[in-house]
Symmetry: D2
Subunit: 405 residues, 4 copies
């Protein structure tokens, strides 16, 4: 806290914690606070954040509330979906992918208002602090970063609430006690972790879920939908063209109804520990399955296998917060190069928590019934070629076998 | 066909096609045929194969019928499961993993009976010919290989049936017409492809499935099970210790009941074309999910991520038929090294086609509630360490940002 | 040879072998032959090829002689150099990189003259047949390919010379006997293999080398040069701006003088066998060292390490003939993305077979003396950050250590 | 410094810096210091270290001086050589590979003497602090680590020397002024960095080199040697069997004489900055070339290419200090699996800074003159197989070409 800060841009949700941070920054750093509240589709009213900020003395022209939903899906979620990214084989990276955009916008605002610092409400044990701060530093190397949770002494819930009350920050009733778990939400997913989820042997209680119905309560009738893709990105549901954010919202509705996209995961954090989380990614889960399906008919094997081999690295980079890094951009360049003809339609059946691909077609299909058929293929493929193919693939193994036996 | 063959070991199912091959080998090559029929859990009676072989003049001591189920699961399926292998992100490799064992046993028999050739019934368009033959050549580099489907002129169903009838080979009624699809089965899975499946836009008809109920017809009540692991391999279901093959059979029963493990896939064959298949892998699907779950608490991040990065290559090698290759063995050595402490119990909920992990525990758990907790961790983790961690991870990005801006 | 061919474009060097092929194609296929002779800097007169072709009845308008040197270096050698490509750790891929361009031009000519086939003089044991033909098929999927060495019965030197003499093809005196080795040359390298090189324990005889002096005969004084790069490509030697091909030629002169770029290698061919070759890549060896050196100061670590991990795959693709494949293009997209700021100057000392980097500088250098210095860095780097960095990197290892001990 | 330390094991060289640390630990932490001095072949007398330690009051039974040369080469250098490890394409990791052994021995001593802490003399900007401390924590998760350079205020040379003089620590004359560069040495290499090397455009001055003659001063006659390998490790030079450490020492003599193994490198440190170093690795450079050469004839392509793809990751792990990590051990398991038959003899020519492989042979050679020969191979290889091999490799590219054109 040695550095003198004049003006700081805070990623401000309007909730209790970031309100306390707002006040703490004003008090502790004696600096001007600029608030930035992003609509990433988390499903909360944002105008209350404005009022709270005003009440705490933030100048109206220093209150930024931006609807970033379309940018979020178009420039972050979709590129990631092109990669079929899954962290540790399962996680669709719903939190990770939102952080770079928030960081980017915060830095833009910092430049606009001439701020010398940025601040966020992520704790010192999690990945989000890393993701925010790597983004800040990559985009504005000389920015100062204030991470109150690593600095202050408000380390217990009681201390936090005491601070709030002393400073006339309203404390909602349900925040008085310990919350049984904590959440993060955006248009792609809701994550829940902590407290009641901390024993990975215990099933996640039903009240933790907020974005999906329990598969057991989902309709008894499956629903069949189509998703259209163009150049690797989804563009229509059931034939209806939709913008990126509205398309994802539509898939979220479908996923919610059918109980799709719940994931109970113990994962490895970048900061070195394991944590247990519950993720709900209703629309993203459908999108992921659909994208793989359309790639099945439109991607060449060489491209598909290279993508599969690069994917874990790509997912790790996103998870660890390296969106704005040369290596992520290089991988993205490779991935995007493969997507030009990833165009066509996928049919899926949604049922009781499951997404089942049941058909795919494309004007650019590489699937050739003529070649693959068990029937007479009229010379499209000469089976005798296979003999030579096998003989030469076997040659090194035969030389090896002769040596080793 | 220039080479003179004296004795050939045929992978013989007892079905129409390999019976025709048996006769064709006797006729065409004027050689003695030794039959080998493996029980890999495909669920068919094998004794009829003995009778048919005898009828076609195979000497009793040249008829080999082996129950390889335990070896199959223990030495092939389980090592592959340790790798979390998925071909093209989705396919559990049920056909691929059976071929090396058949090839190995065929070569063993060839050595025992002094045969100079082996033969199989795989077609010239598929992957199985490659898998069989790479196995043969790796294990016995100088063996001769006869692949009738690439050699003969019985290229239509009619020609095949004519040949059978001329040679007193009984033709079952349901083989007279074209089969609407073809299948391969073993303890791990059943695959179906061809004919009615050849249009990847058309949903797979219900009559294609043989190993699983339709999820829509599965019980309305979920079933909760546990799977115990020791050193990376499953050893018990619901606390009951089972041998590898009986364990997989038990999981198959559970999977069948709950409609688990259906996969409609368009995949890339090693021989260069795309094909569409329907796979049913009931027990394997449960096992895969359970193995990932127990690894979540027992594998270190470094090991887990390395495994994830190596997996696509490993799966590709299996799919392409390179089980008996130095590079597969090298990858296996790396994977197996990681599995010593992959021991513990996973709880899963089976419901309407879905496998949902709901808990995992291990005596070797690396998950530390004490470190990860949102509560006071009593010094287990110093949040201030994160500041330095981020600063040094950011350093190169900051230097880059300064240069590029 | 069942297919009726009307017109074939032959990759024609003008030498004995391809002259025999020319005649053989005319005779055997009763088709019109179009010749294509490329100047890739192999250092031979090309006009004699025209005369020979004419003598054998090729129509003047069907004789194509193209100077492809600039295209070769700019669009093939340089992109490969950006990747730092080395096959099996050592080989600069001088033959591999020339084949795609020849194939591409052959297909262009085939389209221009309405040919239905192409032909080349590569043997059936080597990699070049694969590289040519994969190029042909990728660029013109329905082209017919004639590979005389795999078809004809001129399998001995005597038979070939007999055929030549019977057909009035002049046989140079030095071709009458068996050549002690065979070579391939272009602006990037000369390769030699076969005969006297076939025992990998025997040192390569001095008379095999044609592009470099023996290091022992090189000047006793080192020579210091500079190479300038822009966006990943070399643009000047000793400050003199040069076109791609003239630059490489200049480096070849320097390398020849100083005995640089000899490589005695046993390598693994794509067709499954090991072969022993001697490569001379004088200019390319200097270029490779210089490119790595300029990357050292201009590439971020993330980009550099990703490049190093992708490189072996990239090199394998080139070696195996997959230049025109989606996966090579994807990798190239990633690599090229990293090269924007790979600009600056490298100083090298050439001496007795060695290339020694002795300095590098760049307007886009990421090397920061201020940060790295042992002296007081005035706050550019806070050494205490390292403590947290290490602690969090160690956390997983400590948790592991606690479990395992 | 809050923690109370009772006894600390210091990695003690006997030089000025670690002598100051010794005293500082005694003073600052009021704790007992145990010294550990390792002979890793750095070429210095170690007994003086004993005397200095005694003078500063270390108990005789708390002074550990161990000759670790054989263990160093056998268990650290050789496994790394099996991997052909090169960091950033060029660096043989001479410093990185020594750190884990020192850390391991320090922890062993800490257990023996009941110490609760360990300490080292690495600075806060370098990689060595990370390597030491990751080793400590992996092997003894609860150890306390004291890194004086990150803690104390002796940040200038003057302060350090003042402290020494105040505490009766003898200051050698040549340490009074600033050293023009700093070095690290062991049996594998000597590294130099800092001060006069800090401008990467300036050539390294001649006086920096200590392990090799200038190539220009090396003998005018080349020297030919042989290296024998067994199971991947070198066992003899010129036919004379030698223990690991004596073998490496012998190669160092040869390398020194011929000016082999100098490397001027700008590298990327794990802590995020670029640094410029000069490395001399005379014997290691010869060993690396020889190992690749023996692998050329004894390793199958599949194994060789997998090794090449894994190598950059392996080298990065070593460089970053993760020797004692599950992922390094997994990679080592894979690598070691490949080395069983890496046995045979390599001939090399050493000349003026260059190492030139001129021959290799092995009882387990996979090189087959019979298969590869240009002469009649008597049916060892059927050239017509290549047609089918190419056709099936081309199939996907043709399908792609048809779609895209």
């Amino acid at each position: 806290m040695a550095d003198k800060i004049n003006r700081v841009v805070l990623a401000y949700s309007g909730g209790l914690d970031t309100s306390v941070i707002l006040k703490w920054l004003q008090t502790e750093y004696q600096c001007e606070v600029v608030t930035f509240t992003a609509d990433l589709g988390q499903g909360e009213e944002l105008e209350p954040a404005r009022k709270k900020a005003e009440l705490m003395g933030v100048k109206p022209e220093h209150i930024f509330i931006d609807d970033l939903r379309e940018e979020f899906v178009k420039d972050y979620v979709f590129p990631m979906m092109r990669a079929n990214a899954l962290y540790e084989g399962l996680y669709l990276l719903g939190t990770s992918i939102a952080r770079p955009l928030i960081a980017k916008r915060q830095i833009e605002i910092a430049k606009m208002v001439g701020a010398d610092a940025v601040s966020h409400g992520a704790t010192g044990k999690g990945n989000d602090q890393v993701r925010f701060e790597l983004g800040y530093y990559a985009l504005q190397p000389d920015i100062k970063v204030i991470a109150p949770w690593r600095e202050w002494d408000l380390t217990s819930r009681t201390a936090l609430i005491d601070f709030a009350e002393k400073n006339q920050i309203p404390v909602p009733k349900d925040k008085r006690g310990e919350s049984p778990f904590s959440t993060d939400a955006n248009l792609l997913h809701t994550s829940s972790e902590g407290k009641v989820l901390e024993d990975p042997w215990e099933e996640v209680p039903d009240y933790v879920f907020s974005r999906t119905v329990n598969p057991e309560d989902a309709p008894d009738q499956p629903e069949i939908i189509t998703v259209d893709f163009e150049g690797g990105d989804a563009v229509a549901i059931n034939g209806e063209g939709l913008s990126p954010a509205t398309l994802l919202a539509k898939l979220n509705d479908l996923g919610r109804t059918h109980g799709i996209g719940r994931l109970d995961l113990v994962e490895n954090r970048f900061v070195g520990m394991k944590s247990r989380g519950m993720y709900e990614t209703p629309g993203g889960t459908i999108l992921h399955a659909a994208h793989r399906a359309i790639e099945q008919v439109t991607l060449d094997r060489g491209a598909a296998h290279l993508k599969d081999e690069l994917m874990p690295r790509y997912a790790e980079l996103l998870y660890n917060g390296f969106w704005f890094s040369p290596e992520r951009e290089m991988l993205q360049a490779a991935i995007d190069h493969s997507q030009t003809k990833v165009t066509g339609t996928v049919r899926l059946k949604l049922y009781k928590g499951g997404v089942h691909v049941i058909g795919r077609k494309s004007p650019y299909s590489l699937y050739s019934e003529k070649v693959v058929t068990f029937e007479d293929d009229q010379g499209a493929y000469d089976q005798r070629d296979a003999a030579g193919f096998i003989k030469l693939n076997a040659l090194r193994l035969r030389l090896l076998g002769r040596r080793d036996r």
